[in-house]
């Protein structure tokens, strides 16, 4: 394998590993705030119990996100030195603002949020929770601005082969940013919601059905049921935006080779780039034209218009189907369980098992979605400005391969340990439950239960 491909796999592996955790923490921060505010308002200890359980998951996820994020900040330089040399004048300030406005905010206040409950007043602790949630969301904002700009670059001019910013407002609010940001934030909401619902269902199945578990379960299912239709709508809008700015990506998503009207929606196919056709195609007539142009006679772009300049078809095509498939599954599961909770007031064993199985479904959908958009941008790193190959470093392939193997090994260990630790926390929470509980918000120290 050549060095560029290895560098891509290495960066892709790291960024894939990284995104798993912010995807949880971005939304979980706001859910924790909701638990905290519900406790402040009602004084019902179940909300604080839910908070104390999920804040541990948050802390663990946060640490995983921080360490893999540090890795990323170095890999920009080790793997893609050409990126900063060519577009550093634009990427640089955006990354700097992420560090300055988001990273420090979350890193400093998470200390108070986690360990400061008995050291600061209740409102300062709530404020720390707000600031951490703001920090994670701001971080998502800046990084998605930069990522969107790489897809739809505007507001700059090239001088001597280097990009110079001409309009910061245009750069920040570039054409794909609002759609991508909304799509990602809702994806985070769904990921956290299904994790909360799934782990709560896991505890429910173990007969750990205390009020805190039920409250978290209800929160997770409700958030999921509300967000998923919004996500489908936003996803559609994002797709139409991509059609406008990156038609070759949409052509690859649909595995459509020829530009024309009445393009079918391909449900299954093995795209063959050599022969430039689909094998074993199963398709709905006019489907793609209907979805993308809202008209059966709508003209949909085909890959043959972009020969040699379009992304690899099969990975984009399949990732897109995986993402959409999970989205549909999320819709069915969240609405069915929400209906069940509303009508019967409780889960059935089977619905609980389905929720457990869906615990990490948000991860799979998020990764699949990122593969669609990132592989879909190839061969460009910054659309029309810089190709991925141009940005690569001169580090020899064996060294990239060796460090890649090292990263993959550690990521495999950490993912296993992470899921294992969450399940252990869930089992343990059901076992060592203090019998007496403080009831008023003013006596947090009455029955301490340790963090470890």
């Amino acid at each position: 394998m050549d060095a560029v491909m290895l560098a891509r796999i290495q960066f892709g592996a790291n960024i894939s590993f990284h995104i798993l955790f912010p995807t949880i923490t971005i939304a979980l921060g706001w859910v924790l705030l909701y638990f905290k505010l519900a406790y402040n308002r009602t004084g019902d200890i179940k909300w604080m119990d839910a908070y104390h359980f999920w804040v541990k998951v948050f802390a663990l996820s946060f640490a995983m996100g921080v360490v893999s994020g540090i890795t990323m900040s170095f890999q920009f330089g080790t793997n893609w030195p050409g990126f900063m040399e060519r577009v550093g004048n634009i990427a640089g300030p955006l990354l700097a603002y992420e560090v300055l406005t988001a990273f420090f905010l979350e890193a400093v206040f998470i200390g108070i949020m986690l360990f400061g409950f008995s050291r600061v007043s209740n409102w300062v602790h709530t404020l720390a929770t707000v600031l951490v949630a703001c920090g994670t969301t701001l971080s998502a904002f800046w990084i998605l601005v930069l990522n969107s700009w790489m897809h739809t670059p505007v507001g700059f001019e090239m001088r001597d082969g280097v990009a110079h910013a001409t309009d910061w407002f245009a750069i920040i609010f570039n054409p794909s940013m609002p759609y991508r940001l909304a799509h990602m934030l809702i994806a985070s909401g769904l990921t956290a919601a299904f994790l909360i619902a799934g782990i709560s269902a896991f505890r429910w199945l173990r007969n750990d059905r205390v009020p805190a578990v039920r409250a978290a379960l209800r929160t997770g299912v409700t958030v999921a049921a509300v967000l998923i239709p919004v996500q489908i709508l936003v996803g559609d809008m994002h797709g139409l935006n991509t059609l406008e700015h990156q038609p070759q990506k949409v052509a690859a998503m649909e595995a459509n080779w020829e530009t024309g009207p009445n393009v079918p929606l391909v449900l299954f196919a093995l795209p063959d780039e050599e022969a430039r056709e689909n094998r074993f195609e199963v398709a709905i007539p006019n489907g793609a034209s209907l979805i993308l142009k809202h008209d059966p006679d709508g003209v949909v772009p085909g890959l043959n218009d972009f020969e040699g300049e379009h992304p690899p078809v099969a990975p984009v095509f399949w990732s897109f189907r995986l993402m959409v498939g999970i989205g549909v599954l999320m819709l069915v599961v969240s609405w069915a369980t929400a209906w069940m909770l509303w009508r019967r007031g409780d889960l059935s064993v089977w619905s609980a098992r389905v929720l457990v199985a869906m615990s990490f479904s948000g991860w799979v959908a998020t990764l699949a979605g990122w593969y669609v958009t990132e592989i879909g941008r190839q061969p460009w790193l910054v659309s029309g400005v810089l190709t991925t190959a141009e940005a690569a470093s001169a580090v020899p392939a064996p060294m990239i391969g060796a460090t890649l193997a090292m990263y993959l090994a550690i990521y495999a260990v950490l993912i296993t340990a992470y899921i294992g630790a969450i399940l252990y926390l869930a089992r343990k929470a059901g076992q060592d439950r203090p019998t007496m509980r403080p009831t008023a918000p003013k006596t947090p120290k009455a029955v301490p239960f340790p963090a470890e």
């Binding site: 920009f76 030195p81 040399e85 640089g92 300030p93 300055l100 200390g111 360990f115 550690i410 963090a451």
Partner: protein, 337 residues
């Protein structure tokens, strides 16, 4: 506005080199103490470990963010240098990252897994901290040697690796002296005393090696009047190290009123060493190859960052100080409630 202080292509790179330097100094000081505690973790008996963790628990995350800021400033302000330095240091960077990953997550995992697995994460915390410190020291050594890789420069880099790890152990022990009491504190005094010697050796080695490697640096230090003006730097370093050694001999004192002195001493040592290095290498960002002026981004982009930095950095310093204030005093058990 941009031309208020003269040509921005001249002063902006200096300002950003300064900001980057300050970030690096804050990073090695702050993450230095929590990395140091990770290194000392290896020799600490189990009952003390939770307490050592408690002394850094609320802080380590923010401490590490200064590294992200430092490398971020290198990335955004000196993109040419960022690529050159990081590809030259590809392998030690990878090892450092692995170390940072291991120790960062071990921190959380050790408190959340089954009791029988806790020991493994304790080991990961020690190994990760040591790997991080050694690879950072190794990178410092290679950087001083102009990023050349010969058997001699590698040997020198290995020496700086050990000495930087000792420096971190020193400041880590000093933090324990400040944040704990009793037996652990007494042991930390012994750790600190042992580290002082290695730190002195490291500083002497770097001071002698860098002028020998670079005629330019030799010239900067040993011509007149520089040699007289700069004399306070090594003399002061020696005095502080000797003073630290002596003070440690008398700690812990009866009322624990001087528990902050070793930490203050260690911070001064770090500051002095940093000042010496900064003086030697200015105006180069890649030693002998690329100056900060050649490597800098476009002035317009730097202005955009600077405006934000001048506004946000004081706020960051303010709330960081607040967090240290919230967790002031001797460390107590870490609790989420």
């Amino acid at each position: 506005m941009m031309h208020l202080f003269g040509d921005p292509a001249v002063w902006l790179p200096v300002v950003f080199a300064g900001l980057m330097g300050v970030s690096i100094l804050i990073y090695v000081t702050l993450d230095g103490f929590d990395l140091g505690i990770g290194i000392l973790f290896g020799g600490a008996p189990e009952p003390w470990r939770d307490r050592m963790i408690a002394a850094i628990g609320p802080f380590w995350d923010a401490n590490e963010t200064w590294l992200v800021l430092a490398v971020g400033l290198l990335l955004v302000a000196f993109p040419m240098a960022h690529g050159t330095i990081l590809t030259a240091l590809y392998l030690p960077v990878a090892i450092m990252l692995l170390g940072l990953i291991l120790r960062g997550v071990a921190f959380e995992f050790r408190a959340k897994v089954e009791p029988e697995k806790k020991r493994n994460w304790d080991r990961a915390f020690f190994v990760g901290s040591l790997m991080t410190a050694l690879s950072q020291g190794y990178m410092l050594g290679l950087y001083i040697m102009g990023l050349e890789q010969t058997p001699w420069t590698i040997a020198f880099a290995m020496l700086t690796a050990v000495c930087l790890a000792a420096g971190y152990a020193l400041i880590g022990a000093a933090w324990i002296i400040l944040k704990t009491d009793g037996q652990l504190q007494r042991r930390a005094v012994r750790w600190a005393r042992r580290a002082v010697g290695l730190v002195a050796l490291g500083m002497a080695a770097v001071s002698m090696a860098s002028p020998l490697v670079s005629p330019r640096i030799f010239e900067k230090w040993f011509s007149v009047p520089e040699i007289i003006l700069l004399a306070p730097l090594p003399i002061l370093s020696g005095v502080v190290l000797a003073g630290l050694w002596m003070v440690l001999g008398h700690l812990p004192d009866r009322n624990d009123r001087w528990d902050w002195v070793p930490f203050a001493g260690a911070v001064s040592v770090f500051g002095l060493a940093f000042a010496g290095l900064a003086y030697s290498f200015y105006p180069y960002v890649v030693p002998e190859r690329l100056t900060i002026y050649e490597a800098a981004s476009a002035p317009e982009s730097l202005m955009v960052i600077l405006a934000g930095t001048l506004f946000v950095l004081p706020v960051i310093l303010g709330y960081s100080a607040f967090a240290y204030r919230v967790f002031r005093g001797k460390a107590t058990d870490l609790r989420y409630d």
